[in-house]
Symmetry: C2
Subunit: 131 residues, 2 copies
């Protein structure tokens, strides 16, 4: 049995949920992923992250900045210019999250198959029940 962070002590889970709430929302991970490519400006992020509204980009970046995951650099020029980048802490988070993304890519086929399997099985049961 390999070491398992979950088992050590229960209270860690509730704190861990805070982090997953941070990373598990709709946009944070994608923002972190984009910044993993290097420093980017606001509009650049908005252009590259498909479907995000400027409001949610702002909100997400603020949250990540507050947690010390993203750094925000304002240049006092006209028109305004703001650079965003991962902090060292943010970079370590990207690495940790990459493990999950790697898992996802490695097992997507299995999951799709499991879903199809489950759906057909339940469909058969429903058919039986209505007969």
């Amino acid at each position: 049995m390999e070491p398992n962070a979950f088992r050590e002590h229960r209270p860690s889970m509730c704190r861990a949920r805070e982090i997953l709430d941070r990373v598990g929302d709709k946009w944070s991970l994608q923002v972190i992923a984009m910044l993993g490519e290097g420093t980017k400006r606001f509009t650049e992020l908005k252009r590259e992250i498909d479907g995000i509204s400027q409001r949610m980009l702002t909100v997400t970046l603020r949250g990540l900045e507050r947690d010390g995951i993203v750094s925000r650099t304002v240049f006092p020029v006209m028109p305004p210019r703001v650079d965003y980048a991962l902090t060292p802490l943010g970079a370590t988070l990207l690495d940790a999250a990459s493990a999950l993304v790697g898992w996802a890519e490695a097992h997507l086929d299995e999951i799709d198959a499991a879903r199809a399997d489950y759906d057909t099985r339940t469909a058969e049961l429903d058919a039986l029940r209505s007969s």
Copy 2:
């Protein structure tokens, strides 16, 4: 520069979001964590996962079962008995997720400090603005 699953090709991210939607919801990860300790019954899970409603436990377990992460075994007896356990696939997910939980535990202090820092800084700015 270490390998980064995010950079390889963009389409992987959208699929990756599916997985984070699965694991990033309010309860899935905790259910997986509990089942990491071994096979458990419905009521057992409900008792050990603090705050979960039976509805959400059912919904969560169904979703995980559909994705092939959790197995469900029904014993046709009275009163009913149903056992839940991680599948091999689920066990690998638990390992991958543990990386994130480990990161969370390792950096909680940094994050708390960053938040406190951010909050006091913005509080000072607000004070200046209202003067």
